[in-house]
Symmetry: D2
């Protein structure tokens, strides 16, 4: 590849990471690098028909493969990584969802333990129409069909955690990880606090679309061709993952019980307003109370994730995160004009495993 | 009043209800009646300037006065009340919000008990521009001002509870009550299951606007002139309050911890899809997982409230709740054409109390 | 009855209360009165064999009948009722327990809502040997038998709630109610804050014994002959129910999630140490941390209940609650010496209902 | 050392582990080995007077040093480690406790996030009398003193976690870790499921005593001289840490919210009764409901821990865990008779660090 700032990564089956932290970097990149990535779906591409039960096709803990990690040169604890999503495009014309025994919000689980048997394990294959940008639901037990808009996103984006820990790619926490928020779509910039040298960024878990809360525990799971630009903001801290879109600033929190995820996300938004927009803490508390949108992200994972978002047009005209979102937005537009810079990649389903 | 189906109620200070259940009806009405109501704000109109601290102006439990209750003729356990909101209009050109000691999501409380002192008690008065339909925030500790769209709603709508109980108007539960969801705005129909003879409907707690989750515990609190039409659906059950708008069907759940409110609302939505739209339970679980919007309502009250909503355009073309929403929408349009039928009422602040 | 200070109450079937608050007093008593009471079991005596399923024999909300309420003369908001348990004796030689559909800790429920079917409904009849003071468990599906010590207690003791509310007898909260703690046994004094004139004390829900947490939701349920002495402490407040035994002071808290019940009970214990034993708040926090016993009471009811207890021998020698426990202990000893004062009552199962 | 089955380990400052998983083994041992260990306190021995604030003396994440890990030869996933505590003896005549900013049950925290300032940071030094086996509390703000019984225990015992994870030593979960239950005292056997080859056992976090729930987040923290015998049970699974004493079988569960920790521990106890004592699941549910003791362990750590225990005398006379507890109890008695086998070690405070 001629441009050293573009790195294309299409992992071979054995090349995925299954954790945040603990996996050796697949590449060292300079800040500003464009990553042109292939990500496998959360099943490692192994659930391909309604006969492919997760319990038979997948082997715990080899779920939710991550593309990465990438070592970002110069990143240290106390810095922030800005990950701009240029494009997130389904790599196949189908996607899979399923119930998983003792996983999901409307079933008992290994921690919300009951003596009841699990719900049946059932797979739904959704057809994606990438031209019309729709995802087609077909009911099993009736002739109901429904075409929903595609809204591609990444369920999992994160860096190596703090405290010497290594966390499964199924976990969302302060390092990011499996937050499963539909806000993580093309056009946004995700801010992640750096915990270890090089940050060690990975991402995966593409969803063709997802409802808020990911009720049954599994979205419309899909391999993705995704382009991101990675920037480094030295000396800027980010305690919990944040997202900036053209219209909103967005805080997240991941914890149990769900009210703690809410508290984290709302307190983080208040502190963002204080740090970057000139509010006192109590004024920010009052203002956010009346202005915030609070859609749920996931209520099924090992931590639950809440989102707190506020319209930028309602905020004082101040700069946040050194205006990196606007700059990356422009760079992304340039990428898009030069298709060679970040070409759409062919789908490569391939079996993969530990 | 010439039209017997229109009842105007502007309570005198001593005429409000402070509970759901346990208060004698202020009127008996036939199904189909248009109620043209004045509702006081949650402070009983006593917080009128930044010097009016709730702890000094209001006396617990005389908070959140309700207009009602109304005995609906013929309503019995097992029926559903359909309450259509024709209009919800601020009755004053200002509204009040405040922090309340040991109340709200970002403070310890009487139940999330800590040994820390409470946050300061601070009042914000919001100016409402009813022509431009905006609410003006003025910061205390800086010169920040922000004009937000008015989006008037009722925090509290409900009927007498089941199980022989009487609940404070501050409580949301299966009978409705203080759910504090911004979805309760003009144009929607709220479905409430009837628990006792006559149902005993009340409403109050107007908000000029509110963020999702009502983070500090208090919205932009405002007296309202509100017009609703009350219909009765015999033999139709509604286990938890539901709302229908022109675009969405909406389930609610109120409980602690917050994930239980989520579970209730999502399970209720699944069961609604099964009962009225022809889905099997597992198909509904899958479909809702990918299609649902899940904005928080309140994360501050004695129970927390979650909302689960789905676009009607994505659902099979079936009738729900005997198509009463569409009919009431039409009736409401008629009301609007005949301004005499439900005239805007003058604000009447008046002091009130127990 | 010759001694005006002893009142015997054996309710007729229609004479029980099903709520705290909202029921008219069955008697007005002076402070110091000895109440010699019969209490029915939580099923109203209707589950008498393994064929008697709760769902068939009992009709919601007519569960958990309470003996009372008693109006205590002179009791006002801001006072404390001291209820000393002289004796708690099973009124029959058998007791019943059962699983209840969608109720209990190891099943989904109406609020921890899942799509799984409920567990089977199964009744166990326990034989009580009142001489040897044992309760005999017989397994259904094996020949296992186990004789456990009887440890009779009342699951439900309370007064009318604050805030104009009426609560089901199935609810535990700040007014007491269905706390289901094994600490409520003969020999202890229960302190309840008075919320309304006359306090309106009721009790019921006898258990021949119960594990901590009441895991399946139902204890070894038993009608009881119970003698209590009721005293009034004017001008002494009690924010949450407390218990004093010869060896411990005991705080309770009832809330969801369970950590909030824990927080309430521990914070209450800290404040008790501060008010009556001379500790500063932080010293009390440290001391209680190392000295407290924290057995669970119930993790199945509408609120969960935690207990926080500390040995009196480890505390400074100070007086708490005007030393009423020691005085009532002496009075109780006198009662016991004069069997005529509080005679053991014959069991009267009798069917009862709304 | 003459007996190859005894291994004495007194780590140098740089030789502690700060995680479960991710640390190289300090030794490989055969099953049956007696470990004669020194463990540092959770502060690394750095809090030695009331002037030594944790925030100044300790550097996150270098809290809670663990002695180990030990690679147990032959241990594989699907096996159980039996760790018998022969003796747990304070290594100093003092111990330290403290409040920690935004940590503990009666304060907001980083996840139960509020806008309130933290409680003051205060240190208490407890004097231990190892002859009389007491721990002396001295109040800061009054002249209150109280002598409590010493009851030495380990807050932290665990193995490497499953799912490729590495967890901070501050975390309790299915691998054990920082469970903080007073049940982990001399005389008991702790059963831990093996997740990785060699199991990688570590322990630390000695407490001279602790209340149930560890309310302020910190016990009476003390370096320990501890002797354990480590056995391996091939082909026996243990999903969550269990403990056996001479009198009880004890299940644990660690999760948030606290009711999930309760559910895990109680469901685990039910399954233990089913697997080893011949109960059907529903019979076990009923029996445990009436027989269980449920003291809290911690309600302050990243996961909360509940304990569910039942008297062995009430259970059918069956063998559990191949009767290893009784055998290790005998071996331990032999150790005690031969003081050379496991000599009391001199206290070695020493500063330590990363």
């Amino acid at each position: 590849m001629s441009d050293p700032r573009i790195l294309t990564v299409r992992p071979e089956p054995g090349e995925y990471a299954w954790t945040f932290g603990g996996a050796p970097p697949v590449a060292r990149i300079a800040p500003g690098t464009v990553l042109d990535l292939y990500t496998e779906d959360c099943f490692g591409g192994r659930v391909r028909s309604e006969k492919d039960l997760v319990s038979e096709m997948c082997e715990f803990p080899y779920l939710n493969p991550q593309t990465g990690p990438f070592h970002i040169e110069g990143a240290e604890q106390g810095d922030t990584l800005a990950v701009h999503f240029v494009s997130v495009e389904p790599a196949r014309d189908w996607a899979a969802s399923t119930t998983v025994p003792l996983f999901g919000a409307l079933t008992s689980t290994h921690t919300t333990a009951t003596l009841q048997p699990p719900l049946p394990q059932t797979v739904w294959i959704w057809q994606l129409d990438r031209t019309r940008r729709t995802a087609l639901f077909r009911a099993h037990d009736s002739d109901i069909e429904a075409e929903l808009p595609m809204d591609p996103m990444h369920g999992t984006v994160g860096v190596a955690p703090a405290n010497l820990e290594v966390r499964s790619a199924l976990v969302p926490d302060a390092h990011g990880g499996n937050m499963d928020t539909p806000e993580m779509r093309a056009g946004v910039t995700c801010y992640l606090g750096v915990n270890v040298e090089g940050a060690l960024l990975s991402l995966g878990d593409g969803h063709a679309r997802q409802g808020e809360g990911e009720t049954c525990g599994v979205a419309v799971e899909c391999a993705m061709n995704t382009v991101v630009i990675v920037e480094l903001l030295k000396g800027v801290t980010t305690p919990w993952p944040r997202i900036e879109s053209d219209t909103h600033i967005i805080s997240t929190g991941s914890a149990r019980p769900l009210e703690d995820a809410f508290r984290i996300s709302q307190a983080d938004l208040v502190r963002w307003l204080v740090r970057d927009y000139g509010f006192s803490e109590l004024d920010a508390y009052q203002f956010a109370t009346q202005a915030v949108e609070s859609p749920l992200a996931n209520v099924c994972d090992t931590n639950y994730t809440c989102v707190a978002k506020i319209r930028k047009e309602w905020l004082p005209a101040r700069e946040t995160y050194r205006a990196v979102h606007a700059r990356l937005r422009e760079t992304a537009a340039t990428c898009a004009e030069d298709p060679g810079a970040a070409p759409p990649a062919p789908a490569r389903p391939g079996s993969l495993g530990p």
